[in-house]
Symmetry: C3
Subunit: 208 residues, 3 copies
């Protein structure tokens, strides 16, 4: 499989998975169908949109209508499934972690192909992976997962992006490096959720 | 009247109307003159700015200073009128609905002229119409009207945009299709406010 | 010193100062190292990013990796210094005012060189100066300083930008006009903090 084909399908899968998490999250806020669809679209397309704007590329879903159709289709399907059967709330976190892994790798690869410097490219991966979820949490009026301590949300994404870049610099083929990066993001995120890993924090202070 | 002339004047009117709602809304938050002006500018120019960024066009108010001047002028005028006479609070919702209708149609038409696919173009209409109000509500620390149940905010915009696109596909001249689209957005929004129409929602759930 | 050299170093200094305020602010929210780094990066690069997107320029830190490296380096350094010694909370407001002054002038000058109309250019200065701090406050879940009454946050930036534009129109060399603009922003902001200056507000009203 070529790297272009891999990235295309990983991108479509990431859009679908993120649209699903958007609808599940909006359920907690009593939004109606259209509200849930808008949250789903923002969650699914937000990260890649910011990446494309920053890189001065054409926005991916404006050029190719497929992504928008996939996001809306998945959202409507999820909406009616979630109406008829009760979804266990924690289930929500698994597709969210998968979406983070998929989008982080696609975002980093797109930035590298656009000849962004490596540090910028790794940040583009974090942005593509995390912004959709941040938008979802802000629209649903939650504290974004990315800023909660002990979640390793952005850290997992950044570690995966940097690993993938390092592997490719060392000569590993992009397809294999991408799979390795995805595994690292997903593994770290799930491990953080399970073991409550923490990074150092500042002692709490107050503004005068 | 040509479609270009119509869109230009509808755009200027939409900017003025949205600037007015921004100032009225900021009054509830004890903002000072400059704070009210900034909220008015964000409300008036926000939706079209996001549309232009997504379509990779030049941002409309950066190219033509008229829009910024109209927004600031309307805002200052509204500020001093609102200081001297008490405005009935519900009056606020009428210009808000008019602004939604005007911006939705301008946004969709601009996207169509830019050769965006129809589904993308209809979403651009919703974005152009609704984002200004979302920015205003976020800056004034309200729950955005667009996400409140029973307001049919985005639904009205989307219905109007899709109607206009369908009419044009069927051969109706863009000027008439635009007027029809505006009438639908405004009619649905006012009807929703009056009759408290609702769309289906998901049963409420909590995240574990 | 040429205006280009001045603007480059003022830009780098502004990025460093804003990254510092981002880390200090995140300390009040018990964020971990990566959370603090992300807030610092958003604070340091947010304003210039919005300016570049609006002007349709290449985003400054995507083209030149230096800015991102300076932001991350300053943030890590601040993080470990702030861990080992207690920082007086009000100290935070001084670098914030300096960052506002530096970014406002850089933002306005960049917009002028891009041949933006003068009213648009002055607003670009306010946006470049203020958006970083707004992002920081939103991410740290504060009410943005810019919307607090009696802070003269945006007013100081706007006054400095307009003064600089007027001086240049009157024939003053851009380097001197820039220093004068910075002095005005910083002076007004510090004076507002010290004397609690206020602008007129609207009488409070409620939405029906």
């Amino acid at each position: 499989m070529s790297i272009e084909t891999l990235l295309y399908w990983v991108g479509v899968a990431a859009v679908a998975v993120n649209a699903l998490t958007g609808v599940l999250d909006s359920a907690r806020r009593q939004m109606d169908l259209i509200g849930a669809l808008l949250v789903a679209v923002a969650t699914a397309l937000g990260g890649g949109t910011v990446r494309d704007l920053l890189l001065d590329r054409h926005v991916f879903w404006v050029v190719d209508q497929t992504y928008l159709a996939v996001a809306l289709g998945t959202a409507v399907l999820t909406f009616f499934i979630a109406r008829s059967c009760r979804v266990p709330p924690r289930l929500f976190l698994i597709p969210d972690a998968i979406g983070l892994a998929l989008f982080t790798i696609v975002g980093t690869q797109v930035a590298l192909q656009w000849h962004a410097p490596w540090l910028v490219a790794s940040l583009m991966g974090v942005i593509t992976g995390a912004i959709g979820g941040v938008l979802r949490d802000v629209l649903c009026n939650d504290v974004p997962l990315i800023f909660l301590q002990g979640e390793l949300y952005a850290s997992a994404a950044w570690a995966g992006a940097l690993t993938m870049i390092t592997l490719q610099e060392a000569g590993v083929a992009p397809v294999y490096a991408s799979w390795a990066g995805m595994a690292i993001v997903l593994g770290l995120r799930l491990a953080a959720m399970h073991f409550r890993l923490v990074l150092p924090t500042l002692p709490q202070q107050r503004k005068g």
